[in-house]
Symmetry: C2
DNA sequence: CCGTCTTGCCTAAAGGCTTTAGGTAATTCC
DNA sequence: GGAATTACCTAAAGCCTTTAGGCAAGACGG
C-alpha cells in the first residue's frame, strides 16, 4: 500500500472524530486503521496498544476543552465567568459527545497529573475568586461545581432530560442562577 | 458437563458481582460462563446477547439501589431525607462500583421507562416536598440534585478527590449542607 | 416399566479485535 | 550507487461473540 503518512497525532485526531461519530467505546485500533485504509498492525508502530490510543484521545479532548474554557473565561468574572465556563462544558459535550466521553476516561494518577485536567481545576478555582470563599470551602465549592457540570452534562447526554418539560436549556440556566446564589451565600459551618 | 442450573437471574447476579470485582466494562458473556464453569454458548439459551446481559445487570442495580433509597427515605423528611438519600447513592457506589457503573448504562427509552429509574425520579421529587418549591423550580431542583449526586460520586469513584485535602467525606457533607441551604432559599427567577 | 419429548449443556465453526513477529519496498543518506 | 532506515504489509495466535446442531439425562404419558 502507498505511503499514507501515519503519525500519532493524525491517529489521535481521527480517533477523536470517530468517537463523536460512533461513540468513544466503539473506537478501536481496527476502526482507526480502517478509516486510514491501512492494515491494523501498521498502527502498532505508532501506538503502544489499544489503551494507548484511548488515552491519547482523552488527553486531546481534555486539552481542547481546556483551551475553549480558557478563552471563554478571559475577561470575565463572577456569574458571567461561571456561566461562560459551564456553557463551554455543556456545548462541548453536545458538539462532541465522543470526545467528552473520552475526557472522562479514568487516567492513571501520573498521566492525569501531566494532563490538561490540572488546567481545568485551576480554572474552576479561578471562577471562585469572584466569590467570597476561603479554604476549605473554596475546595468544597470547586468539587461541587465540577460535580454539577459533569453530572448534568452526563445525564443530559444519556437522554435523562429529553422529551420532558421544562426544557433542558431552561433547567441549565436556572441551575446556574441557583449555583451563583449559593456561591454568593455559602452557608457557614 | 453436569447440570449447573443456569437461569437468567443467576447469570445477572453473577454478572453484577463480577462487575464489582473487575469493572462493569470487563463483564463479558465469556467471563460469566467461566465463573459458572460452563461453556460460553450455554449462556445463549438464557441471554439474547452480550448487550442483553449488560442491560439486565443495569436493571438489577437500579432496582437494588432504589430499594435501598426507599428504605433510607422512610420516615425522614427535609435535610434528614436529603442526606440519607444522597448517602445511599454514595455508599452504594463505594460498595459496588461495578453495579453503580452498570446503573449508569444508557438504556433505550422503552427499557428505561419500565426500569426502577422511574422510582429514583419519584423519590428525588419526594425529598423536595420538605422544601418550598413549586413547578417548574421543583423540576430544576430534581435535575440539579441528580446531577450533583451522580457527578460527585462519579468523580470520586474515578479518583478525582483522592489524595488531596480536604477529605472527600468532608466535602460531601459540606456540599449537602450547601444544597440544603440552597433548596430552602431557591432564588426567584 | 418403557419409549418419547424436552431440557440443558456441549462441540464446531465463523467473524472480529488485539497484539507480536517478521518481511519488503521505497526513501534517505553517505 | 549501495546501505540503512522507514513505513506499511502478511502471518499467526489468543480471546470474545454468536449461530447451528448434537447428545444425554430427566420428565411424562401409556
Amino acid at each position: 500500500m502507498a505511503h499514507v503518512g501515519l503519525t500519532v497525532e493524525r491517529l489521535t485526531r481521527a480517533g477523536a472524530e470517530l468517537a463523536d461519530e460512533i461513540g468513544f467505546d466503539q473506537v478501536t485500533v481496527s476502526a482507526v486503521a480502517r478509516r486510514f485504509g491501512v492494515k491494523v498492525p501498521s498502527l502498532y508502530s505508532h501506538l503502544k496498544n489499544s489503551q494507548d490510543l484511548r488515552t491519547r484521545i482523552a488527553l486531546y479532548a481534555l486539552e481542547e476543552l481546556a483551551d475553549r474554557a480558557a478563552e471563554a473565561l478571559a475577561g470575565r468574572s463572577g456569574k458571567d465567568a461561571l456561566t461562560a465556563f459551564a456553557d463551554v462544558y455543556r456545548d462541548y459535550a453536545g458538539e462532541h459527545p465522543g470526545r467528552y466521553a473520552a475526557a472522562r476516561l479514568r487516567l492513571d494518577p501520573e498521566t492525569a497529573a501531566g494532563s490538561a485536567g490540572v488546567r481545568h481545576a485551576r480554572m474552576t478555582r479561578a471562577i471562585l475568586r469572584g466569590y467570597d470563599l476561603t479554604e476549605p470551602d473554596q475546595t468544597h465549592a470547586v468539587r461541587m461545581l465540577g460535580s454539577v457540570f459533569h453530572g448534568y452534562v452526563s445525564l443530559e447526554l444519556s437522554g435523562g432530560f429529553s422529551h420532558s418539560a421544562p426544557d433542558s436549556q431552561e433547567s441549565w440556566s436556572r441551575i446556574l442562577d441557583a449555583l451563583d446564589a449559593l456561591l454568593r451565600n455559602w452557608p457557614a459551618r
